[in-house]
Symmetry: none
Subunit: 123 residues, 4 copies
DNA sequence: GTGGTCTAGACCACA
DNA sequence: GTGGTCTAGACCACC
């Protein structure tokens, strides 16, 4: 896995799993891979996976059936809200960062559309 | 100063000074406040300031005249490029994050447009 | 350790470790001694070691696995290039210095050849 | 002037003047430029020039005639010895550095001749 | 145990 | 006064 060395691995794991849930790769009510399997999949210490899953459980995005495994919440609305909330947060902080750079909202939209201020195209 | 407790202070200092350079609060070729003065201003240890400025010097955004002080690069193009580069990076990672959330480009633009005047987002 | 009092310790540490890498005393991909251990070995403060290793990391000669240690780059070509580059730099600056002294290339070669076995020079 | 930011300016001034003496740009017994003129020439503080000249005077490479100026030593042998001594020192430390890099004397001579080990040519 | 950050404080060379 | 180096020591998150 290509983990960013500057943020804790467990946070990056949380993010990956959240995205998987949001994108429906784990269905609502569906069973997660086991801690050991996830550890192998992402090549990290099982403790790290456990820590990530604990936090997701605290956020009630997943729940544990003892002796049976961990499952995605059945609450589809919760999942949808999570998605919207994350999108809003991303958008707000993006707009704020651009503003801090001294870039107007109008210019920002040009960046979004893929055009520099000077007319060239962004990759 | 209101430092975010989750990211190292020196990185936040770097960001502040970069924005100050981009916004022209430090002019190209202009002298920075001294290490000690900045330390007092931001209420941190001079070593922390030194670390931040070292990194900015590695990025060639500032340079040092020994026994005289530290100065913003005279290369105005470099400063302009920095601004554009930062804007592009912000935009790219924003778009990528939204995509990872499973949000289409069209939807993303709605989030952007949905911004209220007070910076919040309309769903 | 026998540090030269006129150059910063961290630069001398950098040089030692670079030579160790070049000479294969640390293998490509191999683990470095821990910061604390190196500090004990060279009898300096861990911060001084950290500073040196930071610079080596910026030069991409070593990399860090968080909570695991620091490792020599796996890129053997990079290491070989480093050796060649250092040799070229040494040679170029030596030749330039001799030239600045007003010593011809022909004379310079006599100085080189005049070396005794014990490393001293025959006039 | 292009001073190296890592070594004191007065040492760099000393080096320049020594080279000028060795190369005969200042003749034995000849008058040096005044402190003020040198300060203007090299765009440094007159104190820095004074410090450099003091050291050269301690090494008896120059001498002062009160109210008249500073002069290069009349001792031509001393100047010649200085040149040889510097050449030997340069050569010795160059050879030692190459050896520390793990480069044999034979290879070193190839570098001098401008050929890499792999047959390509050095610029 | 690993590295990373930060502080307080000292000392230095230089201009 | 300027920046640079170094130390001692503390605290932290992570694995």
């Amino acid at each position: 896995m290509n983990f960013d060395n500057n943020t804790p691995i467990y946070l990056q794991i949380i993010r990956i799993i959240k995205l998987d849930i949001i994108k429906g790769e784990y269905k609502p009510g569906g069973k997660l891979l086991s801690v050991r399997t996830l550890a192998l999949k992402y090549k990290v210490n099982p403790n790290t996976i456990a820590k990530a899953l604990n936090i997701l459980e605290n956020e009630e995005l997943i729940y544990t059936e003892r002796t049976n495994g961990k499952f995605v919440t059945k609450d589809e609305k919760k999942i949808k809200n999570l998605k919207i909330e994350m999108a809003i947060n991303l958008t707000n902080s993006y707009l704020k960062d651009m503003e801090n750079l001294g870039i107007s909202f109008k210019e920002t939209k040009k960046y979004i559309e893929g055009r520099y201020d000077d007319g060239t195209i962004r990759m």
